[in-house]
């Protein structure tokens, strides 16, 4: 199998992608949404003409808003994000965004998150991601417990974990670019997307590992001596079409979701698309080759 034979090339590609993503995340930074920082989000729709961003900014400033961000929304509207506001400001929000009825507007969506809830959600997100990673490590070590030669089942789990870290870093890097260009913000939906990517990617990796397990068992039953590199390569070969096809069907449905689905889940769909591609790539080009490298390193 070409990917196993030239695994170092794929390791290099992976390393490059990860470095670029981390770089992007460090340079642009992730913009935390109101879910995590606390604050308000309002989506305004204008009946006829809508004010320019400058006009709206001035109006918000005069009304006492600080550190707000304005983003274009579909259908003649804006999405305004700001820190926590007073109840008087909330009561007069429609007045404010319509510039005292100069541009008649309706409030389509309004949410306000208290600061404690924000901190709580942030901590919960980290906890959830760590828990998923831990659960997956334990689960794989358990499911593959009967496989110990030449690689122990814990290594299967640890390698799955490494590929998962890769799968999280790539969408984070991508999202920081998205945030920089389009003002996309990291919210609970983004965390949900990341967790889903973890689930999908490990699903993919398990199928390949399962095939390695099966082939190792068959070799043992038939008393066949085969180099681990060949066994792993063969397993990858056998599951390759399935990995690609499953990703294709998922990408098809996500693509449809992105293009025709609700506006509120568009960023979400895009994050998933990037993550699924990363996940498929890592379960093909990273997981099994790493298994081979580890086996060789131990032997040496």
């Amino acid at each position: 199998m070409i990917i196993v034979t030239y695994r170092k090339v794929f390791f290099a590609i992976t390393a490059l992608l990860v470095i670029v993503s981390i770089g992007a995340a460090l340079i642009f930074g992730l913009k935390l949404g109101t879910d995590f920082t606390g604050g308000v989000l309002a989506e305004v729709r204008y009946q006829d003409a809508k004010p320019s961003v400058e006009e709206l900014s001035t109006a918000l400033q005069e009304a006492g808003y600080e550190g707000f961000a304005i983003r274009e929304a579909q259908d003649n509207g804006y999405i305004v994000r700001a820190g926590n506001i007073t109840s008087e400001m909330r009561a007069s929000l429609t007045q404010t965004v319509s510039l005292n009825d100069e541009y008649p507007a309706t409030l389509e969506r309004f949410s306000e998150i208290g600061p404690t809830i924000g901190v709580e959600l942030r901590n919960k997100s980290f906890l959830a991601i760590s828990l998923v990673l831990l659960a997956i490590l334990l689960y794989i070590a358990f499911v593959f417990r009967k496989v110990s030669k030449p690689v122990s089942s814990w290594v299967y789990g640890l390698i799955a974990l490494v590929t998962l870290v890769h799968d999280v870093i790539i969408p984070i890097g991508f999202f920081s670019v998205l945030g920089h260009i389009f003002g996309a913000q990291v919210d609970t939906l983004f965390v949900t997307a990341v967790l889903t990517i973890l689930g999908f990617s490990v699903h993919d990796t398990i199928v390949v590992f399962d095939r390695v397990r099966e082939n190792l068992r068959l070799n043992q039953e038939q008393n066949k001596k085969e180099d681990f590199e060949l066994t792993a390569g063969r397993s990858l070969q056998q599951t390759f079409v399935r990995s690609v096809n499953t990703s294709v069907t998922v990408l098809i449905s996500l693509g449809v979701l992105f293009f025709v689905g609700p506006e509120s889940t568009q960023d979400f769909a895009l994050t998933l698309i990037v993550g699924i591609i990363a996940g498929t790539f890592s379960s093909i080009a990273l997981a099994t080759p790493l298994l081979v490298s580890y086996a060789k390193w131990r032997k040496a």
Binding site: D35, S87, R90, A91, L107, E108, R109, F110, S111, E112, I113, G114, T116, I117, V119, E120, N123, S125, A128, V132, A135, I136, Y139, V143, T188, L189, V191, T192, L195, T196, L198, G199, F200, V202, H203, I206, V207, D210, T239, V241, R242, N245, T246, V248, T249, V250, I252, S253, L254, G255, V256, L257, F259, V260, G261, P262, E263, S264, T265, L272
Partner: protein, 441 residues
Amino acid sequence: MWKTRLIALGLLALGALIGWYVIDSELTGSRPFRLGLDLSGGTQLVYKADLSEVDSAQTSDAMASLRDTIERRVNLFGVAEPIVQTEKGGALAGESQERLIVELPGVTDTEAAIAMIGQTPSLEFRLLKVDAASPPEGTPLEQIKDLFEPAAVTGKHVDKAQLQFGNGGGGLSNEAVVVLDFNADGKQLFADLTRDNIGRPFGIFLDGVLISIPVIREAIPDGTAVISGNFTPDSARELVRNLNFGALPVPIELLTTETVGGTLGGKAVENGLLAGLGGVAAVIVFMILWYRLPGFVASLALLVYVLLSLAVFKLIPVTLTAAGIAAFILSIGMAVDANVLIFERMKEEMKKGKNSHDAIKDGFARAWLSIRDSNISSIITAIILFWFGTSLVKGFALVFGLGVIISMITAISVSRTLLLALGVSTESKIGRFFLSSGINI
């Protein structure tokens, strides 16, 4: 063979029946999908309960009574299917909190919703000082405070209030009046107060405004008082309601609000529906082009999966949110995975020279371990997501987890039975073509 075919027909009929149920229950409205606030439009408010005055052993009692009070209040305002629930939270932010979550479908005015919940009426009674002249009704308490002296009886002593018409006397037979019943303490205090102050005007203040200032004509020992404050029937009804359900057992503080307008939600449903249909169609096209006959069978299984899931969403019922719809569309892509695994396996078995029947059986048997292990890991993720969830994420996790389970079941039952029932032979060239896949024939 015929037995398999009968079972296959039965499965398809069952699928059709489920489909009929889904469509029928939606059209007749007997069991429509339950839509989350972000789709149906409405307001969600999350409050923190201030329990500093409450003994910690009585926390859950206090929260239950708070929930009941708010629930009654919300019901009285005629909101359809409101949800009021309590939740423990904040542990991860370093401070444990008791929270109250109020969901009001259809209420898209945030301020009105907050007012609906937060309005705790204050009813006060004050006696006019002996030498003062009666101020006009409607005067704020602030301006005339000096004219009055506090009365021993207060709004807290009101046990219940009722709306009556006309009986209050004064000749206007249609006038709406509010009758107050005092509790045991209040009854005594009110009896004493009326006995000692016959002839003095008695000021009744609602939310800091003088609404009525009757003159005490006689001692009232039975603990009832009638307020005739130039009410309209509506304003009297509102006062009665607020007095009966007004006082919250513990103070509450608003933490988060979330309001989504009906149009935005309606559009999201429309787009979600479109994306769902488009997703199913696109996946079916891909599956048939690549996997041919098995692809067609997988598409049937996918349709059964979609219908079965929708029926389950209705029956549980699952509250569908935009994120939930996204999860469902994602699951459509993932649902065929088990089929793909099986078909690839089947192909390998056929390459080894097995006939179609054995290849199908062995392909399924071999793929099962992969399907089981990989799906369990997805279910673990779904469970953690569900726990992590705000209501938005919970909707996603529930749909995602259900999708994984249902798709696993349909793949191993429906696809398998249908493929076996078709009984395509691998002996003929056509049979081989239909069972193989990809670009190489």
